[in-house]
Subunit: 418 residues, 2 copies
């Protein structure tokens, strides 16, 4: 199948490209490379060294013997979006090209606006270009489980039958997001649902759980590695805990640590996206997949990281700094996930095994973590956005003063890294 991946240079875009190539699909990609810049903006980098994109593409050619056609550009550029769709005429579009960090969106008013405006504009441009150029194509849109928030009921896959004052209807499940970023995904969902209705587009809206892991079977060479963000803006709590353990620091679940979220291994997320691509929605159909396979509390993640760390001779303590976010620290959480299993989804990875695998990689890149250790402390506060100094020296309470960072590149030969 001809697949276009928007955001192909990103954490899941890149391994998805490799996975689809390995399954015989034809892959093209578009990316503005802006995430590389924005990770630098907060003073961080990927623990895994990421070569410049041309070298990534050359490595794909060399290692897998396959070509990825690449377009550099931003989906905010309507002419670019039309050009890519006209040139590629994809059968399936996996849309991952969005600002994806909740803390980044909470930095200040400008980051909030940029997140919502860019994400909405890119998605609208894609929807209209699909209608005009490839109305039969199938859109697989990356959303987030965070769109739902943490209601005191089970969470259905997008829609539910409800009753109010004695009358019934099947309605979109209410969304209660927890950051400007998460709201941008809610807004996208509204636009995709509406476009599928008026343009008769095929659409799958993926409520993605938190993804963990660095590796997929296709990543057989360090040049094919995907990025691994561990700073408080771009990394997940699990990533931060493993980085803290490697550096001999306490693990820091925020607040009570009973916040629960849905999780899925990188490899299983790639399996899920492939299943969505290979089983397209019908014309005019808007379907929602809750894409995760287990829910864990933040404390549970910290405890599992500590347990695996102990096997490796590391013995981190667990601290509980105050929660900088506005979120329920204890809540009911039971989302339904039945659509993907019906398409054949099967979990292939267990959390502990993947944590162990991440440890092995991060220990190899320990020097890259140490050089950016100061990015692990929270400086974005949900209640007081724009309270943090952007760019330049950071010296938040509890964080080490930032020295002019050295540039160790670890075992990779890459000398320009994101």
């Amino acid at each position: 199948m001809k697949v276009l991946i928007t955001g192909i240079d990103g954490y899941s875009g890149w391994p998805l490209a490799l996975h689809l190539l390995a399954r015989g699909h034809d892959v093209a990609g578009v990316d503005s490379l802006v995430t590389r810049k924005r990770v630098k903006e907060v003073g961080s980098w990927s623990a895994t060294p990421i070569p410049p994109l041309p070298r990534r593409l050359a490595a794909v050619q060399e290692v897998l013997g396959k070509e990825i056609r690449f377009y550099r550009g931003d989906l905010s550029d309507w002419a670019l979006v039309r050009h890519v769709l006209e040139t590629e005429r994809p059968e399936s579009i996996v849309h991952l090209a969005e600002q994806r960090s909740a803390p980044y969106s909470m930095i200040d008013v400008h980051h909030a606006v940029a997140t919502q405006v860019e994400n909405l504009t890119g998605t609208l441009h894609l929807l209209f270009a699909m209608k005009e150029v490839v109305p039969e194509a199938h859109l697989v849109k990356m959303g987030t489980m965070g769109e739902y928030g943490t209601p005191n009921t089970d969470i259905p896959e997008g829609f539910f039958e409800t009753e109010f004052r004695g009358r019934k209807d099947t309605l979109p499940f209410p969304r209660q997001a927890g950051s400007w970023y998460h709201w941008s995904k809610v807004f996208d969902s509204g636009d995709v649902m509406f476009a599928s209705k008026i343009f008769r587009l095929r659409a799958t809206d993926v409520m993605q759980g938190v993804i963990y892991g660095i590796r997929t079977p296709e990543i057989t060479d360090d040049r094919l590695l995907t990025r691994f963000d561990f700073d408080e803006t771009w990394g997940t709590a699990l990533n931060r805990f493993i980085a803290q353990a490697v550096l001999g620091l306490p693990l820091t679940p925020y607040g009570k640590g009973e916040q629960k979220r849905g999780f899925i291994a990188l490899e299983d997320s790639m399996q899920s996206l492939r299943l969505a691509v290979e089983h397209p929605a019908q014309p005019g159909e808007y379907r929602v997949f809750n894409q995760f396979d287990a829910a864990y509390s933040v404390n549970e993640l910290a405890e599992r990281v500590a347990r695996v760390a102990a096997d490796l001779g590391l013995h981190p303590t667990i601290d509980h700094p105050p929660d900088p976010r506005v979120e329920a620290e204890q809540h009911y959480y039971n989302p339904i996930h039945e659509h993907l299993p019906r398409l054949g989804y099967q979990r292939t990875r267990e959390l502990d095994d993947v944590i162990r695998e991440i440890f092995h990689d991060l220990i190899r890149y320990r020097r890259r973590l140490a050089a950016r250790q100061y990015v692990l402390a929270p400086t974005v506060n949900w209640r007081l956005p724009d309270s943090r100094p952007l760019l330049g020296a950071r010296n938040a309470a509890g964080a080490a003063p930032a020295p002019a960072p050295a540039e160790p590149t670890g075992p990779s030969s890459a000398n320009s890294v994101a």
Copy 2:
């Protein structure tokens, strides 16, 4: 009370300013005047001649003996928004400064993007500036009953208690908007709800029904008139029907004409907004008012217009052209509206009386309607946006060819009109 009205040059912003002044409030306003331009963009104008803003303000001074402090600018400009809030330090902000036309948002991809981006950006700028400058102020935000769509249940005021798989929660009522514009209002609602939570702002989100009427008791001079749009992009169905009757054309409810919506008279909408201003929400409170007082089907509106027209010696027929929108032509509709009556709201105007009043004004301005008669036919199709020629000559099926329009200004002495 010190009130800032964003969008003060608009259809409801202007009479709201007069109404609040008459009730002793202190009024400042901001407007980019972009709606005047955009009405020209689709080849139309207001049936009532609207003087340039400086002359409107001078008339307020002369007729009412009151001053309105005015700032010209766009809420997309963060520096302007901060400047206005710092200078004015309002206690209440009535936020009406948004692109407000559903058909305009459906013209093509660029109008869709502009509508959503401008509306979201302006609202985000206001929310952040309030937090930084006037965190105790109360935001009254103009939304629309169209955010809810037409579910097969009653429609609560924002939130409802629901049960799913045996567990209960009080959740935002699901939104199912019917145009890119209506979705922009849904998105604003998400942002306002979230901001009230994290910034502890006071917020009232007004789900505004369709407003009808030109006059309020404060409009005692033609120079104080508010705009009256009758074209298919900026006017409402009721406005179009009355304009058609005045011009001797058939009235044209789209499709079956059983689409029902909530309506409220201009004067009663001003009463409602004033009640919201005078009874602010609590810090951190996000409350939703369904602001309408009766629901009518489009057919009912056409029949009432025809009945009043007959009293005036006009005898329009009623046609049913195909519905260019994607909407249910027959549906259940029963929204709840209890919050405003609890604050003392009482209906003061009846639909038939207001229709009669509009007829009297439009007959006076008949030449202005005749000069723009071609704007009455629908040219924006919900299923096929960007299908219409923008600007320049329009000659859609059924519409009269557009001559170079003359510039009759009716009884007003204004020679530059919007």
